[in-house]
């Protein structure tokens, strides 16, 4: 909308010749500091900003904790309580409470970076850059493998994850490769791709609708369609908030499931 206003105010404004749908190039951001492959771009600054926001939220909320919480403390407490009761206790049981700080930070980091996609003046979901979900997935991969090895020993962990009990011996020729691929390769891959693809899809759809609005408002005949496009785009912003919460929740709960599965294999 801002670009529309700016272009309307400029004197030599001409309607565009043809509609060019936005593609994946909207995810490429130029270097801000430094140059080459290892420079700081917009996305890095947003990630640093998200860390500052999360730390500030927790510090402000719990600096002077009251017995009867109110305001921000109330909100933050209910989120942490939801992760404790809805994810950790439900999936891992009381023995998983030592992972609560990790899962809480994971949830908040993913949620804040997702919600950047619709925050005015930022409007870029950091998690749509594949590197960030990929890093989070590798982190989770190490944590659930190390937790499994610590709980059962290396041999026990490999045995319980590659040779599920209750299967006829010959079937292991078929089952073991499948279990290996699904446990050690597909799990982190799907974790990362799920988060990144959801954010890419959401950002792309929002961009297409608002670019479409901008394109359709040039002629009087197409202004009703521009209004429709704008209305649907606005509705999709609300949908994106839902997706941001849901993806943070799903990433956290899957992490909990993987850690619980490698610590306590099903018998």
């Amino acid at each position: 909308m801002l670009s529309t206003l700016v272009s309307l105010l400029a004197s030599d404004v001409r309607p565009p010749a043809g509609f060019e749908p936005p593609g994946t190039e909207i995810f490429e951001t130029p270097c801000l500091i430094g140059s080459g492959d290892y420079c700081a771009n917009r996305v890095m600054l947003y990630m640093a900003l998200s860390a500052i926001i999360i730390v500030a939220l927790f510090v402000i909320a719990f600096r002077k904790p009251k017995l009867v919480p109110s305001g921000l403390q109330n909100g933050m407490e209910s989120v942490v309580e939801f992760i404790r009761n809805g994810i950790v206790m439900e999936v891992m049981g009381p023995s998983g409470l030592k992972y609560l700080p990790f899962l809480t930070s994971l949830f908040f980091f993913i949620f804040v970076n997702n919600i950047f996609g619709i925050l005015p003046f930022i409007q870029f979901p950091v998690n749509s850059r594949m590197a960030i979900p990929a890093f989070l997935a590798v982190l989770v991969w190490f944590i659930y493998n190390v937790a499994g090895i610590k709980a059962q020993g290396l041999g026990g962990y490999l045995k319980s994850s590659l040779f599920p009990p209750g299967v006829p011996t010959l079937i292991y020729i078929l089952v073991t490769p499948i279990e290996f691929v699904s446990t050690f390769i597909v799990r982190p891959l799907t974790l990362a791709v799920r988060l990144a693809a959801n954010m890419i899809a959401g950002h792309l759809i929002l961009t297409i609708f608002f670019v479409g609005t901008w394109y359709l408002q040039w002629k009087l005949v197409t202004i009703p369609f521009a209004a429709l496009s704008f209305a649907l785009g606005t509705a999709l912003v609300a949908f994106e908030i839902l997706v941001a919460v849901l993806q943070a929740y799903i990433f956290t709960i899957l992490t909990a499931v993987y850690i619980a599965g490698s610590e306590h294999p099903e018998h």
Binding site: I200, A201, I253
Partner: protein, 80 residues
């Protein structure tokens, strides 16, 4: 001419059609899957409302697994 004939005709530039086909075909299975999954979960919640929390958690887990396939199709449509 049919779809195959159409595909043969655009042999030189299959980009857009190929991308559309990849995502469209990848969305069929997960669409059916999520439909079944949520339907059965609602059935279970209606039968045993006291187990609704557990059913909902499991439902989201299942949706996450099923949805991954459609998202792979989405990502592949950009890669090809």
């Amino acid at each position: 001419m049919g779809l195959l004939g159409l595909l043969a005709a655009v042999e030189g530039d299959v980009g857009a059609i190929g991308k559309g086909l990849v995502y469209g075909l990848a969305a069929i299975g997960p669409g059916i899957g999520i439909g079944f999954l949520v339907g059965k979960a609602v059935e279970a919640m209606a039968r045993q409302p006291e187990a609704a929390g557990m059913v909902r958690t499991t439902m989201f887990l299942g949706i996450a697994f099923v949805e991954a396939l459609a998202l792979f199709g989405f990502v592949l449509s950009f890669i090809i």
